[in-house]
Every structure is written in C-alpha cells, then in structure tokens.
Amino acid sequence: MLYIHQYSCISPQHTFGSIDLETLVPSIDNRLKALEPAYAGIPPGMLRRMGKCVKITVGAAMPLLADHPPADGIIIGSGNGGLEDCIRFLDQIVQYEEGMLTPANFVQSTANAMAAQISLLTHNHAYNNTHVHRGLAFENALLDAWMQAVDNLDATLIVGGVDEISDYHLNIETLNGTFKADPCNNATLYASTTKGGLAGEGAAMFRVGGRPVKAEAGTTEPGSGAGAEAVQADKTYAVAITEVDLFHSTDPAYVQGRLKGFIGADTPDLILTGENGDPAFKPFYTAAEAANTTVARFKHMSGESPTASAFATWLAVHLLKTGAMLPEHMIKHAGPSDKGFRNVLIYNAYQGRQHGLIRVKRTPE
C-alpha cells in the first residue's frame, strides 16, 4: 500500500492553485499546454536557467516539500525529459558545426535533471532516481516508491511523473502518428476518426508513504499557509495506491486477460481510461470497460504524453480524497455509484503497446 499524504499537479487544466475541473480549458493548435503558475519560492536566477520540464516539476513539488523534514526518496518518471533543451543543443551542434558550444542545454536535457534539481533545492541526500521507460515511466516510478514504502513503512517519498511539449518533439511524434496531423480540439477529441492524440504536458507530484498520514494538530487546511491552496491537506479520506502493474503487448486478447487478472473479484466503481481519440487503440479501452462501473476519460484534459497516467492518478486521488463530483465532460458511461467513488482503476495503453494499471482506493473502503 502506498498512502497518499499530499498531491499537487501543474497541467493544462486548473489543477494548481484553485482547483476547477468543471471548466475544460480548450486546446490550441492541437496542444494542451501546462498552465504555469508564478513559481513562488524558486529563486528567479535559478528559474531562468530551468527548462520547462524542470520548472513544472519543481513548481508542482514545492508545496509538498515546504514544512516537511527531507523526504526519504525522490523518484521521477519522465518519458522524454527536457526535450526542448536536448534539441536546442542539437541545433547548436549543427549550426556551429561542433564549434564552441555552451553546455547549459546539454546539462538541462538529461532526464535526471528534475529529480536532481529537487535534491539540490532541498539539500536532500536521500535516494534519488529517474525512470524513463516511455509510456511506463510513471508506473515504474510508482512501483519503485511502492517497494521502498513496503521495505520501510515510515519512509516518506516524493514520486511524480512529468513530460513537456516541444516543437521538435511534436514534429517527430506527429510524423510518427502519436499526435494528430489534422486540426482537432479537445472538446470533440473522442469523436475523432484520425490517428494519434493531442499533445499534452504536465507534472503530477505525490508525497507518499507506507502508512496513512497522522491527523496532526494544526494540519494545514486548504487555503491557509504557504502554498497550501495548491495542496489538498488530508482532511477527509485516507487514499492509497493499492496495486500497480505494467506490461507490453500489442495483442488485445492477451491484454484483456491481464486486465481481468489484475481486476480479479475487486470490481472498481470508476475506471479512468487513457482513450486518446485514436480509433486504433479503442479496442484496448473498450475491453477494460464494465457494465456496472462508471467509465471516464481524461486525455481531453491532459493531452497525450508518456506520463499522462500521472495526471490520471492525480485526478483519482483528488476525487477519492475530496469526494468531488466527476465533471460531466469526463463521463463516458455513468455507473450506479453516485455517492462518491471508493475504488478507481486507471488503465492506459500508451501507443497501443505499453499497458499501465494503477488501482487507487479510499482506505478503509
């Protein structure tokens, strides 16, 4: 069990600061760009040098780091890391014919820059790791945190998923069919009949541990104290990630078998699927749907990215912790449960090959 102590998310939607999931922020030119906050608490000189991936990671993580002893681990999942810097450095190589290059873009482009930056800012010498396995980078980061929490129930860990949009990456992945080549907007995404999804980006960060957070005297309530409005303090329900699995397959029958095995007799009351407007991947998601379960989608909010499941996890935690209503625009099929959800399954099939399963529950149920 991985108990969620705090959670925070910078995304294309209103997930940071005052949370509003009812209003759907529209995509622009097939992109869902992160709504970046003012980044209070990060020194401006430092901020200027940060690539977007690092910025949104640190920005989302800040509220989870303030007023806490150093975490026992910082674990980040990112499919692509700082791609903008990476290709900027590539441009330098070509433009200056390998002449005198400045190393800043090179250093910022390495995938471990996000976890490293958090350790730097907080002088944290603990376990520090970066998972980069494309569409399963976040699931692996969660599994890493999970195993650490089992090994040491008292450990608290920062775990998160992050990816950024860059023009170059958009170009490559549009040519590759990951993103749509034709104009599409997020309000009508699921009616699309063309290949690919909408480009998305964001950072979702979680403070987790092997035990539920203790109800401490003076626990910060939302709306009070530094960064508190960005974070939902644990005032209502304890929520935990109870299972994580990940595998590769392009065979729908095999995938369905693994899904069945994962769900077992524990039918979720809400399934969040990674449907992304690409008809080729619909069969995977349809196979995951169940008659008596509410089915909802999130990629019209987050867009497609290798770590979109981190956004879905943030959503699930938020719904379970606060008992907030599911926004209408997310619902594909409404199930019988209208008294707030307790048991959520997140299923994502990145590029129809990389399958991630995450179960999030209220505890005790």
């Binding site: 890391g81 590539l90 944290n124 970066t130 494309r134 399963l136 599994l143």
Partner: protein, 395 residues
C-alpha cells in the same frame, strides 16, 4: 531476506566481445581507446574514444537483427543481452515472469544527424521516429523476445545501470519477477561527444584515472547485462557467479554537473551499500572505482574513500582506462568486471597511473594481481549528483 545471485552475464566493449575476451584484455592491460571512425565529426582524431570497431551492418547480420529503424544502441544491447540469457540458459523468455531493466543515457540519439532532420522535417520522417527515445532499446528487446514481465529504463546519467541492477534486485525480493535481466547500454554519439566537450571534461590524451596530471575522461561505448535470480529458486547444481549483496543510492545535492568537495553523495552511497550488505569497511577486498579521470571525480572519489575507509582504503582501480567511460552502460560493465574479479580471484590494473593526487596520496592497483577477494565494491557517480554503489560477494 532472499539472497540475489548472478547466474549469467553478457558484455561488449571496446576491449572485446564477450566476458572472456574482456577479461583477457583486462589481464593483458589492453586499451580500447583510440581514434574515432564510426561517424563523421570534427573531433575524430582529436578526442580519443573507446569505440567498438564493428559497424552496424555487420552487427545486424551477426545478430540476425533485420528490419529498418534499428539503432546502434539497440544492437549493442541486443549483443550483450543475448550473451547473458544464453549464459544463464534462460530461453525461451515468453513463459516466465522475466523482467528486463535497461539503462541508457543516449538511446537513439546516437543518430544525432537523423534526429536533427526529423525534428525539423515537414513531410516524411526517417525510419527512426520511434527509436530516438531512451525507452526504445527496452521496447525493442521486449518485442524481440516476447518478455511479459516488468520492463523499465533508467537514466541517472553515469550511474544509470547501477540503478538498473539495484531495482532488479528489489523486484526479485518483492516477488515482482522470478528472473531479472538488468544492465545498460550506450553508444558513442555526436550529441554526447559535444556535450562533454562543451563541459571541458574530455581528455585530448588517453585518460589517466587517479593520476595527478589527469586531463579528463575518454568517452566509450558498450553494453552489459547480468541475469539475477533468487538463490532459493535455483536448481541444485546451478551455476552461480556471485551474490549481489547490497546497493546504495544517494544524492550529492551540490551541482548539476560536478561533485561536492567533500563527496557527500559518493560517501553516502558507499556507506549505504555497506549497510545494505551487512558488511564492515574491513570486509571490502577491492573497489572497482568510478574513476573517470576528470579533475573533479577522481579527487572527490578519493576523498570519499578516505572518509569512509580511513587510512585502510582497500585496493582499488578504475577500468575506464581500458574501456573508456561508457556512461549509462558503465555501472553494468563494471559490475561484470567486479564479478569476474570474484570468480577468478584477481584484480585488473588501472592504466597510465604515475603520480598520486597530492591531497589524497592514494595509489590505484597498476598491475594485474591475483589475490583473495570476498567482497567487491563498484562505484558509479552521475551528473545531477546521482551516486550509486553495488557490492558483489563471492558465491
């Protein structure tokens, strides 16, 4: 707690193909560093590199890897991976709970020029569109062998594959896999060559780990994979090369591209590896050091070793003088060397050392030596302050 054992290994580097060829080269004190020939760059002949002198088409034919969109990184990984699973007699992989944990810092960016074109192309892309990212290597191996278990890729710069081995051992202990194939790969690339050159840490001469007059590192390429299993799952009479006794991972938390003066990260990762193994400083028989031969690393690593071991620093050397710095593969390459040291009870020399660094006055092993070894420590420290240490013990 389950003991995690090494039951298979595969390795390709600039000093040889296969574990035995690498061992013989290390014993002979061979150096794989020389002039770069594999791709066009203005630094060919200027910045020495440790290159595997087999071109991609030859590797593709030898490894029966046909099809478009295969990168050199995939091919090097395939070579070492195939050796490891054959060595451990694991085939076929489809019916078992096998996990593949890879590590790489370059991925498909070895195709620096193609990536540049594709990132600016408007009409048609190349065959490599799905091959640039770091996950591409693991995805390729997964689909080639039909692996059903957990697949992951790490990038913590130069400590990446040490973290892959650490994660692999943890998956086994938690019952999330029955067999783990963990390691790493990197191929030489215009991207990294220019990146490290911009940081001014590449040596214009053959590198000299731990020497007073060292001028930086030489980049290398290679791949290594180790098969890990729980000791209690082994059939009677199974071959066991070594025990992975423990691992440590700590952040230096000082600077994005250099280590702190006091070596807080290196010190802690070594200390944690000892704790995780239940060992004392005096139990360590030899250290395969990170020893990149940069001004910063060797000075800090020496200091951290003195901090932890006091005046009784175990015999140590860096094999990067032979293989160059293989970045994301280095942790796994040196894990294989550490295991070879334990199997054969021998220590490989650090090349071209002459004068110790004044502040630490530590001298690495410079000649091939046979000596009794029980526990071998292997260090890997990366940019971003990601420090990892593995300890292997005699089977």
């Amino acid at each position: 707690m389950s003991r995690i054992v090494v039951t298979g290994m595969g390795l390709t580097s600039a000093i040889g193909n296969g574990t035995e060829a690498n061992r013989q080269a290390l014993i002979a004190g061979s150096c794989g560093i020389g002039s770069l020939e594999g791709f066009t760059t203005r630094y060919a002949g200027i910045l020495p590199c440790a290159e595997i002198k087999e071109a991609n088409p030859s590797m593709q034919a030898r490894l029966r890897a046909s099809g478009a969109g295969l990168t050199r990184t995939m091919l090097l990984a395939l070579d070492a991976f195939e050796q490891a699973i054959r060595d451990a007699n694991l085939l076929p992989l489809t019916d078992q709970n096998v996990a593949l944990i890879n590590a790489t810092t370059v991925g498909g960016m070895c195709l620096t020029d193609e990536l540049y074109k594709d990132s600016h192309a408007k009409a048609e892309g190349s065959a490599y569109l799905s091959a640039y990212d770091l996950g591409s290597v693991g995805v390729y191996l997964q689909s080639r062998y039909g692996i059903k278990g957990i697949i992951n890729t790490f990038n913590t710069a130069c400590s990446s594959s040490a973290n892959a081995l650490m994660y692999g051992a943890r998956l086994l202990r938690h019952g999330r896999a029955d067999k783990v194939i963990a390691g790493g790969v990197d191929s030489l690339a215009k991207f990294t060559l220019n990146g490290f050159n911009a940081l001014r840490i590449l040596s214009p001469e053959l590198c000299r780990p731990f020497d007073r007059d060292r001028q930086g590192l030489n980049l290398g390429e290679g791949a290594a994979f180790l098969v890990l299993e729980r000791e209690e799952d082994l059939r009677a009479g199974s071959k066991v090369y070594a025990v992975l006794s423990g691992a440590g991972n700590a952040a230096d938390a000082y600077h994005p591209s250099s280590l702190s003066e006091e070596g807080e990260g290196p010190f802690r990762s070594m200390q944690q590896a000892l704790q995780a193994s239940g060992l004392q400083c005096s139990d360590i028989s030899y250290i395969n050091a990170h020893g990149t031969a940069t001004e910063n690393n060797d000075e800090v690593e020496a200091k951290a070793m003195l901090r932890l071991f006091g005046q009784r620093v175990p015999p140590f050397s860096s094999t990067k003088g032979s293989t160059g710095h293989t970045l994301g593969a280095a942790g796994a390459v040196e894990a294989v060397f550490s295991v070879l040291s334990l199997i054969h009870q021998e220590v490989y020399p650090g090349l071209r050392f002459e004068h110790p660094i004044a502040q630490s006055n530590l001298k690495p092993v410079t000649e091939y030596e046979q000596r009794p070894l029980t526990h071998v420590m292997s260090n890997s420290f990366g940019f971003g302050g990601n420090c990892s240490t593995l300890i292997f013990s005699k089977a």
